[in-house]
């Protein structure tokens, strides 16, 4: 029987309202070789007046973090989705998002992983 590649999607923010400086909880994924972060602006959101940038961060130990280099803008239209792809990330992943003053993003953020 063929062995299929393992895959798993983790919801890392479920209906959270992002404002100010946001860091998602650390997620361990050393088993995966590729990852895609998705951010879905929820349909009942008030459209933010400007966008924000999500930066992927990696870590050797889950305690100390550094920008990986991948970054992407959050959607500003309700029900829209944006994403960022990551490779060669070691064992830990999270997003750092600096939300502009007066803006709130109500989001579902997911991390899709594949071995």
């Amino acid at each position: 029987m063929a062995t299929l590649r393992n895959t798993y999607t983790a919801v890392i923010a479920r209906g959270e309202r992002w404002a100010g400086q946001v860091y998602t909880e650390p997620y361990e994924a050393a088993w995966a070789s590729e990852a895609v972060f998705f951010i879905h602006l929820m349909p009942d959101s008030t459209p933010p007046s400007e966008t924000a940038v999500a930066r992927v961060q990696i870590s050797p130990d889950g305690l100390h973090w550094v920008n990986e280099g991948t970054e992407f803008e959050l959607p500003t239209v309700p029900d829209a989705v944006s994403f960022g792809r990551v490779l060669n990330f070691g064992g830990w992943l999270r997003l750092a998002v600096a939300v502009p003053n007066s803006c709130v993003f109500k989001v579902v953020a997911t991390l899709s992983l594949k071995a």
Binding site: A10, P60, G62, L63
Partner: protein
Amino acid sequence: MRSDSHPAHGDPRLSRFDPMERVIYFDDFDQGMNGWTCLVGNYQDSLDTMTTSYARHTQPMLSQITHWDSGTHGSFDGTYALKIATRPVAGERNTAIKRVTFRKASRIRVETYFACKPEANELKLSDKDVRTFGVLFDLQDRQQRVMPHLRYLNTLNGERRHQWQFKQRTTPFRAIGGSEIVTHDHLSPEDWEDVPGGHQNLCYNEIPTKINWHYLRFDFDLVNMCWLGFQCNDLVMDPSGLESIKMPAMANLDCMLNLAFFCESDTAKRTFFYLDSVLLSGDF
């Protein structure tokens, strides 16, 4: 092989377990998530209707248990363990759940090898940062829904307790949005009771990055919906006086056999509950 040896003991992967006659599932987290997922609360129309404590739950992950000072620890028999992590908030909890149904009401047994440690972000012993960890079944036959809960209370508000506990009561049900959907917080901090004789010191070790795996077994009778006892390492407890949360059978839950593990932090530091593997068996 001894003539009285357990049939599973000839299989190296199973030899550290004592399963009943039929293995219902054996989840080795070196192979993947095996159907373990996040326990979200009920909701209707908006996620905002979800009970706050459930809304805070996050997804389990596969951890190789890597530390800043000693690198990868690994699991009991491989690289990966299922990891349930709280947020860094005192009193915060998290869970992981696997949902199946039963085909025959029988005695069932869950066994696991586990470890529970705080995040190693201080150069301190940190043994009082974990509040609790535990296991629960969520079951239903044609008459009732039954939810046996078992937890180890490590620390409560900074005081070491080292006590196994159970609970018989949940919070009042709350209707969501006037619909048929209701919710309750069966894992709430209230109404936990000490298991008589259930004090036990576990092998925490001497710094947060040294991990020892522990054995846990929990037996339950689906015919009579009653406890049959549990074991953690060398502590073996009979079911005397141990009861479950019970309520009338609910719609849409017939033959439910859910198994969940959970943990809570006692300080503003993440608690990590690791499961090397989980074996559920039945005597049919």
